[in-house]
């Protein structure tokens, strides 16, 4: 039987090739789309996890409950006070608490990049060393003075590269290029409102890392420096904690601890809470890719059906002969479906591997492009062996389903009519 099947494929190789090409295109597209979906999902989740690890809860005053007026006022209601921090520390499962403080006045930064001088206002945040240590790219100590270490939000860098550098044709900035760069900080001075104050003090900062962990709107500095600046410029006023980063012992405890913190009157943010929302948003991507894929697969199905119908029309006499020498309808279906299985499997395998190859090429090219505009340089396509296997199985099954109708038609041919001259 297999002799007959192989012979048939060889005899009708042009049609087999045509059907095979459609399957190759469909499975390559399927592999690429599945890889793209996996890549985007992984990149998104990785980015999210980097900003908010599974064991981290960001705690903020609950504006909805407290009201913005109260937060700005002198009352301690809703604010993150030392007492409240102690209450949070007592919650089971809390491992460590990192307070984030903020400089209460204007601050201005001045730097020279590519020979151009930049001066802009910025918010200044302070965090303890333990919280930021993983984002420090060199061994420079967080306690270092003159220059003081500074961490820049990654997003700010991306924003410059995408919205300023790319459209203006200016050179893009890379993390490596900025590490070690010195920036001058003018506390209590605004470039936007220069008349309000004068540049009384000059503090030298050095870029030591990039992170989106703390705040996307400003520069992160050692908390001791912020405390000192607040005391100096606010008449010994203590620094207000604007955010807390609570580390829990185990990811399974995150939700429980967060709920207990919320009961203390704060709002919380953590990875698991955002996940559902992100997943819902990503499902739109899956649906869009699925819809494109569906159209490709539908076109492929039509191509396979019409190719096999034409083949059967050409092979009418052969089918008639097989029926005359004893083949049942089932035998005819079996022969044609075995042909489809071989073509489908080979073409799906070639298609999946082509998809893998294409995605590797696009990845290579894509990463270079992504680096230029400084998007996260995660791999765009992530094609796992499971995706390859899924594409091969799907392609083969699709071929079999598509060929079933022509196979049934062939089996139901009247042998007498089929053998007619």
């Amino acid at each position: 039987m297999i002799n007959l099947v192989v012979k048939n494929i060889k005899e009708n190789y042009s049609r087999a090739l045509l059907a095979g090409l459609s399957i190759i295109i469909a499975t390559a597209a399927l592999t690429i789309f599945l890889g793209l979906e996996a890549g985007i999902k992984n990149a998104t989740f990785n980015e999210l996890e980097k900003k908010s690890p599974l064991t981290q809860i960001t705690v903020r005053p609950d504006i909805e409950k407290t009201g913005i007026i109260s937060l700005l006022g002198k009352s301690s209601k809703g604010k993150i006070t030392t007492d409240k921090i102690e209450d949070i520390e007592k919650i089971d499962g809390v491992k460590e608490i990192h307070p984030e403080i903020q400089f209460n006045h204007f601050a201005s930064l001045e730097a020279s990049i590519f020979g151009f001088g930049f001066e802009t206002d910025s918010m200044l945040f302070g965090v303890p060393y333990n919280f930021i240590k993983n984002d420090l790219q060199n061994t420079k100590d967080w306690e270092e003075k003159d220059p003081y270490p500074a961490i820049i939000p990654k997003t700010l860098l991306d924003l410059y590269n995408v919205t300023i550098a790319a459209p203006q044709g200016l050179p893009t900035l890379s993390e490596e290029g900025l590490i070690g760069k010195e920036i001058t900080l003018y506390p209590n001075y605004s470039t936007f409102f220069p008349g309000m104050n004068t540049k009384k003090e000059e503090i030298t900062l050095e870029v030591v890392g990039f992170s989106d962990k703390v705040n996307l709107l400003g520069v992160t500095l050692p908390d001791e420096l912020i405390k000192n600046l607040n005391q100096k410029y606010s008449n010994n006023k203590e620094s207000q904690v604007v955010e807390l980063f609570v580390e829990v012992e185990d990811a399974s405890l995150t939700k429980t601890v967060a709920e207990k913190i919320e009961k203390l009157g704060f709002s919380t943010k953590y990875f698991q809470k955002n996940l559902q929302d992100v997943e819902a948003k990503l499902s739109y991507l899956s649906i869009s890719l699925g819809a494109i894929n569906f159209i490709i697969l539908l076109t492929t199905t039509i191509a396979i059906i019409s190719t096999f119908l034409a083949t059967i029309q050409e092979r009418k006499k052969e089918i008639g002969l097989l029926r005359a020498i004893g083949a049942t309808k089932f035998h005819i279906k079996k022969i044609i479906l075995t042909e489809a299985l071989i073509i489908g499997f080979l073409a799906s395998t070639i298609g999946s591997l082509s998809g893998l190859l294409m995605s590797k090429v696009i990845n290579q090219y894509g990463i270079l492009q992504l680096e230029k505009i400084a998007f996260p340089s995660e791999i765009l396509f992530q094609i796992s062996p499971q995706i390859i296997l899924t594409s091969i199985i799907f392609g083969t099954i699709l071929t079999l389903i598509s060929v079933y109708l022509p196979a049934r038609k062939a089996a139901n041919l009247s042998p007498f009519e089929a053998l007619k001259k």
């Binding site: 002799n3 008639g320 005359a324 020498i325 004893g326 083949a327 049942t328 053998l419």
Partner: protein
């Protein structure tokens, strides 16, 4: 062995109805050699197809061993064609890209008679005088050789009836004669019922019984 009772076959084409066979009856005994003689369009091929289970009559019955073959399921009817009938066609209907041996073995793919099938095919090839070309592809053979392969293929499953539709129609006179003589000797040696459809009186004379259509 086969009883054909009052069969009629009508065809419809272009809105018109054509009558290929009308009220035809015949009893075929084992080991008979029958010639169906008639001009083109007289219903010879239709009759052979109905006997062989490739087509069914509009009216009437065809019984093989007292069973109406046109009431059989597809599986049993296919089994009847495979085991009891051997077809020989005017156009040979060989698989051009298969070897002579593979062509002869083709009907064995659809039954369980797997034992010694190659030996049997070789023996049949020797009988039809084509053993030397056992490994040749069918498309490399002459018309006469192709028909010999078709004859060997018809005999591979030891059928009880051989149905030959104008077996010399595509051959020259001399080759045709050789094929008819071959069929005659095979009919004798294999004790098989042979029914030939022909429009040629001379070929019909080789049979024991001539049925004019």
């Amino acid at each position: 062995m086969i009883t054909i009772s009052k069969i009629t076959k009508n065809y419809k084409s272009g809105g018109k109805s054509y009558n290929a066979l009308a009220n035809f009856s015949l009893k075929i005994k084992p080991n008979e050699f029958i010639a169906l003689l008639g001009p083109s369009g007289s219903g010879k091929t239709t009759l052979l197809s109905i006997i062989g289970g490739l087509d069914s009559p509009t009216n009437g019955t065809v019984s093989f061993k007292n069973k109406n073959i046109h009431k059989l399921s597809d599986k049993i009817l296919s089994n009847y064609r495979n085991n009891e009938i051997g077809f020989i066609f005017q156009e040979f209907h060989l698989e051009p890209n298969l070897t002579v041996l593979d062509n002869i073995l083709l009907p064995t793919h659809f039954n369980d008679k797997k034992k010694n099938k190659k030996e049997k095919a070789t023996k049949l090839l020797k009988e039809v005088g084509l053993f030397k070309k056992i490994s040749r592809k069918a498309n490399e053979l002459s018309g006469g050789e192709k028909q010999r392969v078709a004859i060997a293929r018809a005999l591979i499953n030891d059928p009880s009836i051989i149905l030959a539709d104008e077996p010399t129609g595509n051959l020259d006179k001399e080759t045709g004669k050789i094929i008819i003589n071959l069929l005659k000797s095979l009919h004798k040696n294999h004790k098989v019922t042979l029914i030939i459809a022909t429009h040629d009186d001379k070929i019909a004379k080789a049979a024991n019984k001539i049925i004019k259509l």
